[in-house]
Every structure is written in structure tokens, then in C-alpha cells.
Symmetry: none
Subunit: 243 residues, 2 copies
């Protein structure tokens, strides 16, 4: 993952977070998406490093760096991005939606360190915190319900910034049935339909054509075509044997 993407240059900074469970959840999310630097500024609970919610990221949470102020926490970062839920808020910085922001962050990561700041659960980032940000981003949420859970917001941001999909080997696909396989299937199905009387009551040639088209529409994998063929043959044998 992430050959070109320099995720080691990304720091997530949690500012004045109240609930240690949210800090653990944030640690888990950043670990899920390949980010390893967590910084905290004035956490409400000194014991946050033990948060049980950091499933699979206990180490990452333990070695997170603690700072007294935002300015110290972002000192080595050349791009500092704030996050906010509030759309109406008076901002002195440019605002980007997350999908617009992520490519800008990825570009910057190639050459420098980036901090993404998340504020406290109740109040978000203060105007003073935002003064250290080059710009601000928001996750596009519904107008009537803007405010996300902190851990979920971190997860969504990491997902969008990492965007592993683009580089991942894409999922495996089953081999698709070829025309010969589909034709065998069609023939045996017709045989059954004839034996059961279905085709008699459902009109000759046009009935056959409908069956042929039906089989083509269903997009069988090769294995599935084989399996259904076995089923139909067994039915055909039984239908035939009893005549």
C-alpha cells in the first residue's frame, strides 16, 4: 500500500479531547489506514493512553506525543489543516470539503509534514487553534445533522486521505461463462422445459428465444454455469426416466 503516498508524514492531532474512548477510537482508525503519528494537546483525562477502544492500536496510542499547546504540536509541520463541522461559523481561513481537501493533503505529504487537527467533542477547535491552520476542512454531512462523533470523523478523514483503493490490487473476479457453456445450459434447460410441458404451453420458437436470452442475461460465472448444468441434467434424467 501507499508507495507514492507518504503517510509517515501525516500527523493526527487531537486537541482538548474529553473522552479517552474517542482517543482510542481515533488511534484505531488512523492505524487502520496506515497512519502512525498521533499527537494530543491538553487531553482531558491524563490516563487516555490506556483507552480500551484502541483495539489493535494500543501501542500507537501509548507512544502518542503529548503537547501543552497547538503551536508546539504542529511546530515541525509545513501544512496544518483544521477540521470543523460547523458550516455557519465565521472563519478566517479557506474552507474545503474533505473530497477537495484530500488531494491537497496527499500532494503536500510528498514533500513535507502535514498535521490534521480535531477539536474537542463539545466545541471543536477554538478560533485560536484555527489561527495555526493554513486552511480548514469539513466532512460533507447533512445540513440538519452536521456534527459527527470524533472517532468516526477521524476514520472518514483517514479513509479519504489514504484512499488505498486507487492503488490496491482490485478484487478478484470469477471467470465468466463463455458462449459454449451458456449454450449447453440453454439446451438442457430447453430439454427440461419440453419434457415438463412448459414449452408446449409457452409457444415454440419465441419460447426458445426467450429461454436463450434469459440464460444470457443472468451473467453466469463459469463455475455457476457448470453447477446449474449439473442440476438441470439431474432433473432431465429424472423427467426422462419416468416417461
Amino acid at each position: 500500500l501507499a508507495d507514492e503516498l507518504q503517510l509517515e508524514n501525516l500527523c493526527v492531532v487531537l486537541v482538548s479531547t474529553r473522552n479517552p474512548l474517542n482517543m482510542g477510537a481515533a488511534a484505531r482508525a488512523i492505524s487502520n489506514f496506515g497512519v502512525s503519528h498521533l499527537r494530543v494537546v491538553n487531553p482531558f483525562e491524563a490516563s487516555f493512553r490506556e483507552a480500551k477502544s484502541a483495539v489493535g492500536a494500543a501501542e500507537l496510542l501509548k507512544r502518542s506525543q503529548e503537547f501543552q499547546s497547538v503551536v508546539e504540536a504542529v511546530a515541525d509541520c509545513s501544512l496544518v489543516v483544521g477540521t470543523t463541522a460547523a458550516r455557519g461559523r465565521e472563519l478566517h481561513q479557506a474552507m474545503h470539503s474533505l473530497p477537495e481537501a484530500a488531494p491537497l493533503i496527499r500532494e503536500h505529504l510528498a514533500g513535507g509534514r502535514v498535521a490534521v487537527l480535531f477539536g474537542s467533542e463539545k466545541r471543536g477547535l477554538s478560533n485560536e487553534d484555527l489561527n495555526y491552520c493554513q486552511w480548514v476542512m469539513h466532512i460533507p454531512t447533512r445540513e440538519e445533522h452536521l456534527s459527527m462523533n470524533l472517532g468516526q470523523a477521524v476514520a472518514v478523514c483517514m479513509y479519504e486521505i489514504a484512499r488505498m483503493s486507487a492503488r490496491e490490487v482490485s478484487s478478484e473476479y470469477m471467470e465468466v461463462a463463455n458462449s459454449a457453456e451458456l449454450e449447453r445450459l440453454t439446451e438442457v434447460l430447453m430439454e427440461n422445459l419440453a419434457a415438463s410441458g412448459y414449452l408446449k404451453t409457452n409457444a415454440g420458437k419465441s419460447g426458445e428465444e426467450r429461454v436463450r436470452r434469459l440464460v444470457r442475461r443472468l451473467q453466469f460465472s463459469s463455475d455457476d454455469a457448470e453447477e446449474l448444468l449439473g442440476m438441470l441434467r439431474k432433473m432431465a434424467w429424472k423427467l426422462g426416466r419416468k416417461d
Copy 2:
């Protein structure tokens, strides 16, 4: 937001969830992204509807629908998508990463109801649950730390499906068979397979499961399902009549 995107056709289905806080968090996330249908199957805690974590989504959580089984929960859905963290797991369904899956889901929402299933925190969805799914999706996470928190996974999926920034104009689709139609088809096919002796020679329970999965993989339109059902009923009648 989402003029063309028919999010009212999307249902999130939480299967056997243990922690009510995760259910509340899921409710909050789906509400953030404009989804309003939450369904739950066999929740571990009966009192989940009071979960404090559903901040801003308490009503949505309260009126979530409860079901005894996956098959009931998805009966009116014509696309059922499972989610899984495990990449190594042996699956009988096609697997898409979330960024590949989201456009498929959006397209489908234009013409039919879609269920996205999330399994329990410990075990995810069972193979039996997955048998009701057309296909499966995963969030691309780091190989060494695949497993996400449930509420965070729901948030990331909703973010990507809603993708409020980039809405595609959808094209026309055939009406896709819903789960109830597929189950009728499954039942009659099984009946035929039993009558013809196919299921006897191809092992009880696992044979049935293979049939159920096969029918889900084939992506029937409602009309095609109807047509094949007619064929199979005719065969069933003939197979039965001769005994």
C-alpha cells in the same frame, strides 16, 4: 444534498450487534450522511434503542426496525451487500472494495432498495448471513490492521456511498428481483433438486447453502426471476406428478 441520489432506498442492517454504544454510533453516522433506515437483527442488548451515543439520531435509533433473521430484514431489498474485514476469508460471493462498490450501490438505489449488512463486533457476518448477499464489500484498510470499529466502519461506508460532493446521474435499470422473490425461486429450485435426487447425492445442508448462494449471485431482474420460477414450477409439477 443528494437530489438524484435516492438515499431513502438505503437500509443499514446491523446483525447480532453486541454493544449498544456501537448501535447508537451507527445511527448517528447514518443520520450524518442522510440515511434514515436502520434495521437490526437479533441485537445482543434489548435496550439498545436508548443508546446515548446516538447523538442527534435518538429518534432514528428509536424507530429502527427489529427482525429475527436476516432473511426477514432484507425481504424488500433487491440488492443485499455484506461487509467484511477479513481479506483471507473464503467467500462464495464476489468481493468489491468500498470505492468500487459505492457506485454500484448508488446506481441500484435509483431503482430499488439496497441493504448493507454489518455483522457483530467479534465475528462479523456469518457465512449463513452472507448467503443472502449478492456480493460483499470491504473497506480498504492496512493489511496488518484490517478490523475497524463497527461505528467507524458504518461511517466510512455511508460517507463513500453518499459522496455528497460527486453525484452521478443514474441511468435506467431493470427492476431487480427482491429477496423475497429470490427466496421463492430458491425454494422451488430446491424442491426440484430434491425430487430429482440431486440434493441427495450432493449433501444436505451445504447443498442447500450452495443453491441459495447460486441464486443470489445470478442477479435476476424481477421479470427474469418470475419467468424462471414459472419454468421450475412446471418442472416441479411434472416431477411430482410422476411419482
